[in-house]
Symmetry: C2
Subunit: 236 residues, 2 copies
């Protein structure tokens, strides 16, 4: 039996902060925590804006991206619930943040963070998780083929499969499929994977032709055999 998963499992299941922890730590020390809801495709901040607020994603999916002056775009991170973002080493945000789904985010004044050791610890854990995901993404962008990139992208949408923590097929013999929601257009996927939109479409068509995936809707793909797609990620 296939089931629909709507969460984006970045970093192969490594991320495990709880938003409740962030809220607890924040509320105990400071009352500037403000949960807010934003519709899909809301820009939460732009690259270069003054970095006054830190965000935690309570629900939904957010992408962080950077633009080159001539308009080329690179999506640098895809964040799911529990992620902290908007922290900056300098005075301004180093990238822009846009919601890929309707989102619920909590915001905190940057200064509050400095005064709470428990919040510091939570943020450090989140940053480490993001750092490891960025290392994996550098390998993808620098060394993987187009087919490996798209396969890796699809596998990141399947929780508990692929990588060290893989539990293997849990369904009865002969059935190892999963329906995943992309939350991203072909252009956004291309900008995340360092490819052109034509290459993304070509690879998806090729995977469909080989019987590896079915396209249920434009943004929903059924992975017919998870292990076979996993074997195409370059990690085997």
């Amino acid at each position: 039996m296939a089931y629909v998963d709507r969460g984006f499992n970045s970093g192969g299941g490594r991320i495990s902060p709880t938003s409740a922890e962030f809220a607890r730590a924040g509320i105990q020390n400071d009352c500037t925590l403000r949960p807010a809801r934003h519709p899909q495709h809301s820009v939460l901040f732009y690259e270069g804006d003054k970095a006054e607020r830190v965000y935690e994603l309570d629900e939904g999916v957010v992408m962080l991206f950077k633009l080159l002056p001539d308009g080329r775009r690179q999506v640098v991170e895809i964040l799911n619930a529990g992620s902290v973002f908007g922290l900056s080493a300098g005075e301004v945000y180093d990238c822009s943040a846009e919601s890929l789904t309707p989102v619920k985010v909590s915001t905190l004044d940057r200064n509050s963070l400095e005064t709470s050791p428990s919040l510091q610890r939570h943020v450090t854990r989140c940053l480490l998780s993001q750092l490891e995901t960025l290392h994996d993404h550098a390998v993808l962008l620098g060394r993987k083929s187009a087919m490996e990139r798209v396969s890796t992208f699809l596998m990141r949408l399947v929780p508990n499969r692929g990588g060290f923590g893989c539990v293997g097929p849990t369904e009865e013999a002969g059935e190892d499929s999963r329906s995943v929601t992309l939350h991203m257009t072909r252009q956004e996927i291309a900008d995340y994977l360092g490819l052109t939109i034509e290459t993304v479409s070509r690879v998806i068509s090729e995977m469909k032709r080989k019987g590896l995936i079915c396209i249920d809707r434009q943004d929903q793909i059924r992975i017919v055999n998870i292990c076979r797609v996993c074997q195409m990620t370059g990690m085997h």
Copy 2:
């Protein structure tokens, strides 16, 4: 007048932690800080080793890299003095660390970190700096041409030039050159920039032919006109 710079200025001069601060914070709370010297090309840890120690680089240059099972390598970070590394979200290191020069590193048991708020703050600042450098590197790997990648790499070796903090040429008119030490072989540069060694060599030859650089030694390049190389990074 050109001068020789031997430091690797990762992240456009954003990083500004002091190793003294790390030492102070560590020593005040725990006496497990152990400075040690290692020669060039020492592996400090391998991907998959148990992540028991956190490192701070006091002197020298370290690269972090990941390997795919078939041997393809991606250098994911180049770290210079002041950087903290070896922190892991999980039980094991997610990448390997190798010295590119003779290095001096301080090590700290991972548990000590949890108990020191000042060390936490210092580590958070370092992680944020690394996160921003990784965002920039994702743009390089995902969207930049070979010429733009090599130019960006060279400009990162020139402190205070390029990007928001650029002070412009400081020498008298007509002279804006700088000699930089690469600390890396052509293969290591290729593995950092997501290129083949042939492409790196071709681009360096092309830059030499155009009069943008002179090759003083295999690992030392003189940038003849910094602004001209800067204009080829894709950031203008």
